[in-house]
Symmetry: C2
Subunit: 226 residues, 2 copies
């Protein structure tokens, strides 16, 4: 096979920002590095891209190998290519972000040296992983304001209070309950269920599920100009 | 320098989707390939990433070398990594999209074998460049509905009619004039100028300029939930 570019080449990695939500705070999954560089420092799950696999396949393989995570919501985030981001040699990293349902959050830490951290209280991270994480958080915040995306972090059935807690955790500040409900319901994204859920001492709260078809329509038409 | 990954490596390229607007249709800048594979086929401007330059630097260098374009709005789009997207060997491409002001549109075609095509009537493209272009168009459409982004395609001073034509060209359909003006002005992104511009036989139309500071505030707070 002829080579198209006979010069030194960067190595390619994938790095995954994995978000989870425990009902209170937004969490990110980190791995403690066993080898230098940055030995014993926390880092994003990830690894080298094999020449025979796609980028998505590499990201999913790493999440499964390192964290036992399968079938998670996964989206390419951004490609990081600063020349000296790896002290050893040129490494370009295609970053992903993953959203994990509460059921899978516990499973993900079965892997040795993997741990969830609240995004408001992260340890020092290896390489440029702090920058990657900040980029992912900013993307998640941005998406939340114009796309129905947060549902991947919730149980399949949820109350409006749970949904509001998630929005507050991601956006990092309190939201007015009445305005929030009005806005969310006006988007016509949720299907009310016959069931309800006991939340505190009040009367049971209605459960909803997310409607992917309505969501697709909303994504297509956008929020502002249509 | 120790090598971190002693296995075959993909070659890395950047490919740029360059959009321009001539007042009527949204245009994309293409280059006719002089060498195989896909010799004589139209393709996106781009080339190999050098091991000592960042990805952004590679994209800007290619746009300048191939199209004489400098100081354009440039944003990373997505990284394309299908295993067989290049028939020769594994090539991963970091795609960018660029927005070019009308003043620069003419200059960009000084390069031999470069040409603007309306996005509604594109030729067959080399590699997976049709997919890259579709992704860029979809990003541009999406952004237009939630971010003040189209202004990079307009002259510095423009009328609301020019702005509406741009939105219509990007979105691909007609917009109601009154609704459009109401929405745009409500975003408080435009600074009215003392000048006006003659448009057809009617009374002169007010000129505006885009206010980047207001835009930053708007980006930060988003449109929907804040």
């Amino acid at each position: 096979m002829p080579h198209v570019y006979d010069h030194p080449r960067a190595a390619l990695t994938v790095d995954c920002v994995v978000f989870g939500f425990d009902g209170g705070e937004l969490q990110a999954l980190l791995i403690r590095r066993g080898l230098p560089p940055f030995k014993d420092t926390w880092a994003l799950p990830g690894g080298f891209v094999r020449v025979e696999e796609t980028l998505d396949e590499a990201a999913r393989r790493e999440l499964e190998e390192e964290n036992g995570l399968r079938n998670v919501f996964l989206e390419q985030l951004y490609t990081f290519g600063s020349v000296h981001r790896d002290p050893r040699e040129r490494v370009v990293s295609i970053a992903y972000f993953a959203l994990v349902k509460p059921e899978a959050v516990a499973a993900a830490t079965d892997a040795a040296e993997a741990k969830w951290f609240p995004v408001s209280d992260l340890p020092t991270l290896a390489f440029d992983h702090a920058e990657i994480l900040t980029t992912a958080l900013s993307r998640l915040r941005g998406k939340l304001t114009y796309q129905p995306i947060g549902f991947e972090l919730l149980p399949r059935k949820f109350t409006l209070t749970q949904l509001q807690r998630l929005y507050e955790a991601v956006l990092g500040h309190h939201l007015d309950k009445r305005n929030f409900r009005k806005k969310v319901l006006s988007l016509d994204l949720l299907t009310p269920l016959e069931e309800s859920r006991q939340e505190g001492p009040h009367r049971p709260a209605q459960l909803f599920r997310f409607d992917p078809e309505r969501s697709d329509r909303l994504k297509e038409r956008g929020f502002l100009f249509e």
